[in-house]
């Protein structure tokens, strides 16, 4: 088996593939402010002699703190997502990933090579974190936040992308008597407008694959469809694109 581990800010994903590249194992754990401990949990029972590739913001933590007998290396999320997306859908020319603290847009050429990418900088505006804070502010469970926003009937505007400012805007809208569903929708629109701007900066091309945990949010997906005029490919388990890509890189790097 070949393994890929994607150590994200919010969750850790592990994917194991066989010699043919087929996914055999998928595991998730929350990162929960203890990435090293949680990596040990998710790797429980995985043979330490198998090849493995780490990715995600904790990729170096894995390299430094997890003892491993088999071959190992780390790659950035950009490379892992591009690799995973192409395996899910070989025609893909653009990858969008909205994760816990990063949003990235990656453009691929006709051979599937990365030609350009953009990522948000240190600020988590426009990422999953933004939605998480806003869902909490409106007291809606994160998993239901997209569905909740789909019930909106009135168009509102939230101008700020800064989580702190957006929260105070949302508070003022509530104070004005606006419905939480409408506010939720406006918050979704603000994150999508930022994401679409990022996609356009990289150079929009089709087809586009949408990965990362936020791809499960139906409202974000439908707003992206509206803005780009095309349906993104959304894998069944969008959050494992990175770990799957890392596992494929392990297979490429360490196949005998």
């Amino acid at each position: 088996m070949f393994w890929g581990i994607d150590v994200g800010s919010r969750s850790i994903e592990l994917v194991g593939i066989d010699e043919s590249g087929r996914i055999e194992t998928i595991r998730f754990v929350p990162t929960a402010y203890n990435p090293v401990g949680q990596m040990k949990v998710i790797l429980d029972g995985v043979p330490r002699s198998d090849p493995i590739v780490s990715t995600g913001y904790g990729r170096s933590l894995f390299m430094e703190h997890i003892s491993w007998n088999g071959p190992k290396r780390s790659v950035t999320e950009i490379q892992a997502y591009a690799k995973g997306a192409l395996a899910f859908h070989p025609e893909v020319r653009m990858v969008l990933d909205i994760g816990g603290q990063d949003t990235k847009a990656i453009a691929l050429d006709d051979r599937g090579q990365i030609v350009k990418f953009e990522m948000n900088d240190r600020c988590a505006a426009g990422t999953g974190k933004f939605l998480e804070f806003m869902a909490a502010a409106l007291r809606v469970p994160l998993e239901e936040f997209g569905e909740f926003a789909m019930k909106a009937t009135k168009k509102l505007q939230v101008a700020s992308l800064c989580t702190v400012f957006a929260e105070s805007e949302a508070t003022s809208l509530m104070a004005r008597g606006e419905k939480p569903e409408d506010i939720a929708r406006a918050l979704h629109e603000s994150i999508v407008s930022r994401t679409v701007a990022m996609i356009r900066r990289v150079g929009f091309r089709k087809p586009i694959l949408f990965g990362g945990g936020v791809a499960r949010n139906r409202c974000v997906v439908s707003l992206i469809v509206e803005a780009l005029g095309c349906d993104p490919v959304v894998p069944d388990k969008p959050e494992v694109v990175g770990a799957f890509g890392a596992a494929l890189i392990a297979k490429e790097s360490y196949s005998v």
Partner: protein
């Protein structure tokens, strides 16, 4: 505590505790980033020494010179013609700072959304951390960007300030303005130091600073070789130190270092593995100890072989013509040289784009990492045109905006590593 220089620093009215803390952080940072490099050059011992004495020996020299009646003049920009200062028997030192220390003090008198470079030099002064500032008899600013020129107005309450106007276009009238401003600066320095600038003295200063540029250009040219015999970090450090070390000594020491580098090249001995990916940094200056981005780049399997920066090629490109036979011609030669500087404060600024492209080719880089300090509008905005021009040439590009804080190092690593993965694929 208890440095041999404590008494001097106390005389200079430094905040001794805060200053000791700064030196400790700097020393540790330098150890991590510089001293642990493999197979370091012998000639770098000089630079290690200069850094270890950054606020010691050089300040002592300045104090001694001052006691003999010489004036110390601080500058912030490669546009200020240092030749004038040296020709009047003055000493020029670069005052730009590259650390976060003092930021909170700076934010008491300046807006928060201002670039780190400005906040840093103001912070260093207000927090009484910089013996260079305290040694200066005059501080010379320039009107390169709005942030600086409006800051100098406020800063004038704290230091003796003189501001030189820098044109923002390169037409005939701008050239005339620059000439007038150089002459006005000359008069100011003459009256301030009490020394009339003779043709011979100016010519000598021109030659001395040209020699410093020549040795830095020689160093840069050596970096065209692959494997490159010196890390980008070390080369940046050399450029940084050129702003405040004694020019003649510096030129002599770096010349020796270049001999060593050329020997390394003959032996095919690189400072980094042959597989290291060659990249250029382009954009804003990096003042000591701002080594963050080069460090991130060079710990990600790449090597910086060119700095298209004020602390780099922008400071060394173009020599002042030494053949002038009259004072007027010599002033013209200064105007010629200084008006060719391709700072992003100019519009249009096609020269810079052309310079980036030709350097990218001559130094055989695989990609350009454009670097701007957050809130530095000229460089950030210009990066869009640089990117387009490089795309036409098929040269990969990434734009990085950051500041002096260390909190974004992990995010920077991801972007820089992904870029290096991309260009090495």
């Amino acid at each position: 505590m208890g440095s041999a220089y404590d008494a001097m620093w106390e005389r200079l009215n430094l905040d001794l505790n805060a200053h000791a803390a700064l030196l400790e952080v700097l020393g540790k940072f330098y150890g991590d980033i510089y001293l642990n490099q493999q197979g370091r050059l012998k000639g770098m011992e000089y630079l290690d020494f200069v850094i270890s004495e950054i606020h010691g020996l050089r300040i002592k020299e300045l104090q001694k010179a001052k006691s003999q009646g010489r004036k110390v003049v601080g500058t912030f920009c490669v546009f200020v013609p240092e030749e004038i200062i040296w020709a009047a028997n003055g000493i020029a030192v670069g005052l730009c700072a590259g650390a976060e220390a003092g930021r909170d003090k700076a934010e008491e008198i300046l807006p928060r959304n201002l670039c780190s470079l400005i906040k840093s030099f103001v912070g260093f002064k207000l927090a009484r951390l910089c013996p260079f500032f305290e040694s200066c008899d005059l501080v010379v600013g320039e009107t390169t960007c709005d942030g600086k020129k409006k800051t100098y107005e406020i800063f004038g309450d704290y230091v003796p300030m003189y501001v030189m106007e820098i044109p923002q276009m390169k037409q005939k009238a701008d050239r005339e303005l620059l000439r007038k401003e150089i002459l006005r600066f000359k008069e100011k320095i003459e009256s301030f130091t009490g020394n009339a600038i003779t043709f011979e003295a100016l010519k000598k200063a021109v030659k001395m600073l040209n020699d410093r540029r020549r040795v830095l250009r020689r160093l840069n040219k050596i970096r065209r070789n692959h494997p490159v015999p010196i890390s980008g970090r070390d080369a940046l450090l050399i450029n940084q130190i050129s702003f405040y070390d004694d020019p003649e000594r510096f030129t002599q020491q770096i010349s020796k270092l270049c001999d060593e580098l050329e020997e390394r090249v003959r032996q095919g001995n690189g400072a980094v593995p042959e597989s290291a990916v060659r990249v250029m940094i382009s954009g804003c200056p990096m003042a000591i100890p701002n080594w963050k981005l080069p460090y991130v780049i060079e710990s990600s399997g790449a090597v910086v072989v060119f700095e298209e920066s004020c602390v780099g090629s922008r400071n060394t490109r173009g020599l002042v013509d030494e053949s002038a036979e009259t004072m007027d011609d010599l002033i013209d030669a200064l105007v010629d040289r200084y008006s060719r500087i391709d700072c992003a404060c100019f519009t249009p600024n096609e020269e810079r784009i052309a310079n980036i492209i030709s350097a990218a080719k001559e130094w055989n880089v695989r990609g350009v990492i454009h670097y701007h300090l957050n809130f530095c509008q000229p460089y950030e905005i210009e990066s869009f045109r640089v990117e387009k021009a490089l795309a036409r040439e098929g040269i990969p590009f990434i734009s990085i905006g950051t500041d002096y804080s260390m909190e974004d190092v992990e995010q920077l690593k991801t972007r820089v590593q992904a870029f290096i993965e991309m260009i090495s694929a």
